[in-house]
Amino acid sequence: MKKGVRALALLVIVAVLVTGFTGCTGAKANDKASANTKKILRIAAAFDFKSAMEGKTLVYENLVKSDMAGNFSGWLAEKYDISDDGLTYTFHLKKGVKFHDGSDFNADTAKLSLEYACNNTAVLGKSVSSIEVVDDSTLKVVLGTYLASFLNTLSSTSAPMICGADLEPVGDPKGKLTGFIGTGAFYFNEATYEKSVKAELTRFDDYWGGASKLDGVEWLYIADPTAMVVALESDEVDMIGIAEHHSSIPYVQIAELKSKGYTVETDETGRYQVIEYNCSKAPFDDVNVRMALNLAVDRELMVKTLFEDITKASNVITAPWFVLGPDKVDKNYYKYDQNRAKKLLDEAGWIDSNGDGIREKNGEQLELKLVVPQGEANADTVSVYLQSELQKIGAKIDVLTLESSAASDMKKAGDYNMYVHHSGNMPSIPGGIGIGDKYYSTNKDWAYSYHSAELDGMIDAAFTEPNTESRNNKIDTLWTYLHTQAPCMPLYSVLKLVACNPRVTGYEVGSNMFDMSNVRLLDMDMSK
């Protein structure tokens, strides 16, 4: 009897093992073999293909495209016209564009796509008043109210061009997007997709812009950044960092990768890491204190010591090279000057009266809570650097690192003095200066940031102005005003880091940190 039980137990274990392994093969050997004969670009990605917005830029395309600075041009719309009042957009669509299922892209599918986008993007749903098919290749969109960010939204992953078959129920703009059937240079293979393991994309030979030199792309899920670097070095992937908008490659690894012959691309995308101040309560309700802190940090030294000079220090709130960026603001406005910083704090009434190195005012110490949301790039090391810099002017910084949701709730409740964040990466309206954005008084997310009726008025005036030249002038005035108010401490430019093995050639950064569509331009030298 006992022997029978043992035998049965053994049998069950063997059966489970065998069942468990039915899918196991010598996959690695096969992968290498196929990689040697075909130009399959193996990309490491920190997210599953279906969850990552970056992956969608390989499959879907948009009516318009923005470059890194925020200049728009037609994409699937060959060109577009905007009426003088900025309310009517007429899109002249490219001819000969096909979806991956072989169907044609035309004004009807573009209309369906925009209707889908309106149903799923609040800002479009609120602004678009009508979408009209003029003819097979002309689409007219009328806005109910002027929307400065309209083209930007159309160029984002919120408004992909889709076909009816991609929706469930088929053709229903209120349906669910399921099929990944776009017009992009690669098509997605559902049959070979493995959740949280890999996705395979194949070259779309009928791509309107000419078929890619690559045979395909393999999207390989690797959760850990260090494991990504190991995978690159052990030749299991060809490229890392491209599939994440926040760089997944540790900055400290760059020099080593370069020394080993890997190509490492470090591109600015205009996203700056900043420290937002709580301007609603002391001490940051005083502009002198905000300005003092902005002058007290040597950003150049920070970039040199923490990041080995691979990125640039930020001296203005957001990238000045954005089309609507602060290019007229004096770059030395927040230039490192601790003596001036100390003087400003003295003027604000913060004095170190007891000689303990920390300033006081009305019996309160200049002790500041710096909230660091988990996952904010390099924020831990930057916080420690800030602690040491600000101590020199008599400010004590308490660093509080929290899970991002908990940090966000503290921010909304105003329970912080300083908050590590990053500027928006929306080149057409950069740095949180749009209507309803970070520095607009109705923004509930950033209710304790700098707000004023004067600033709201400037923002309203600038972003309801359809005339480009007039709008640009108003935005220049706005930026100058905002910098005098020192609403945040700009730190450094967050880079998009991409590393690849020498086999991969022709890399060009996309139009923003999310855009991977330039993968179609890559080539691979399989002899290397």
């Binding site: 392994f21 196991c24 609040a122 800002v123 609120k126 959740k195 393991v197 690797i222 494991a227 949701s405």
Partner: protein, 311 residues
């Protein structure tokens, strides 16, 4: 039999309570799914209008009680709804990943249990001897090594330096070696120490002295008398390890990109993907209930004196 039904009934109650508790606690915790998921998808802070639209489209703007009631109604029919993040049925998400977790669990235990028995029994048999000292030192060391560190070290040596094994992935026998090795080290060490201490406790009992006096061989005394009587706590420890492994090993899954349930569940917690959290917690609780039940049944085989009748 009555015991089995009683345990199962209690188990169902525990599963539902655990699942509801996890939901309510997370519901009250900071953050909401719309904000977290939209931020992950767009890389920007979503506006209030975007958040409202997202919640509205997924019926997440209804009161807590209504959501709980709806979930209970669906859960009773074994339908846990769809993931807010992936829009896939929770059951599909669970069972796709459970296969990978089960493989890792069974193979880890298939190595760690025999190894732990060998180390634990040998160590107890030669208590105070050289083998005992060495094994105690190494098991303590193995228990102290963090899994992420060991995993990365293995990866650097066997993938980067020697290029023998794949550093990530799933689907090949080779993919299993490093994750299993990482887990086996810690689990073997823990279990072998349980076996050793349980054996030592029994080896000092009167019945062992009697057996020795009767001239029984050392092997018979160790295996038939000491080990058999030590099996109670050992089976409990194995059951507990089995449960923990089945619930997902987040660190190893993250380091080796193993597509198990642990990493997915943790990501769901960060995103506040409530249907996934509730469904996964319920199913993981179900596994613990079943494992505990099996452990209890095994007790009666190991020690026939144990009975579970109602007194």
């Amino acid at each position: 039999m009555e015991m089995i039904f009683r345990r199962l009934f209690l188990g169902i109650f525990i599963m539902i309570v655990a699942s509801l508790l996890s939901f309510v606690l997370l519901y009250m915790a900071p953050g909401n799914p719309a904000e977290n998921i939209l931020r992950q998808r767009t890389g920007e802070d979503p506006s209030y209008e975007e958040i409202e639209l997202f919640l509205q489209q997924r019926d997440l703007d209804v009161p807590l009680l209504t959501q709980t009631g709806e979930w209970l109604y669906m859960a009773l029919r074994f339908d846990f709804g769809e993931s807010i993040n992936t829009s896939e049925p929770v059951m599909d998400e669970f069972f796709t990943r459970f296969k990978a977790t089960l493989q890792l669990t069974i193979i880890t235990l298939a190595f760690s249990i025999p190894l732990a028995f060998f180390i634990g029994v040998s160590s107890a048999a030669k208590n105070g001897g050289a083998f005992d000292h060495v094994s105690r030192f190494f098991t303590l060391l193995a228990m102290s090594i963090p899994e992420f560190w060991l995993g990365l070290m293995l990866m650097i040596v066997f993938s980067k330096t020697l290029n023998w094994l794949p550093s990530f992935g799933y689907g090949s026998y080779l993919n299993l070696i490093m994750p299993v090795a990482t887990l086996v080290v810690g689990y073997t060490a823990t279990l072998s120490r349980v076996i050793r201490s349980s054996m030592l406790e029994n080896l000092s009992q009167d019945f062992i002295t009697t057996a020795k006096g009767n001239g029984l061989s050392q092997r018979v005394i160790l295996i038939k008398y000491a080990l058999r009587n030590s099996l109670g706590p050992i089976v409990t420890a194995i059951g507990s390890q089995f449960g923990h492994l089945l619930a997902g090993v987040v660190v190893v899954e993250t380091v080796f990109s193993w597509p198990g349930i642990g990493k997915f569940l943790i990501d769901a917690v960060y995103l506040r993907d409530f249907p996934v959290i509730q469904g996964f917690v319920l199913l993981i609780a179900l596994m613990f209930v079943v494992i505990n039940l099996i452990t209890d049944i095994l007790y009666t085989y190991i020690d026939p004196r144990i009975r579970y009748e109602r007194r």
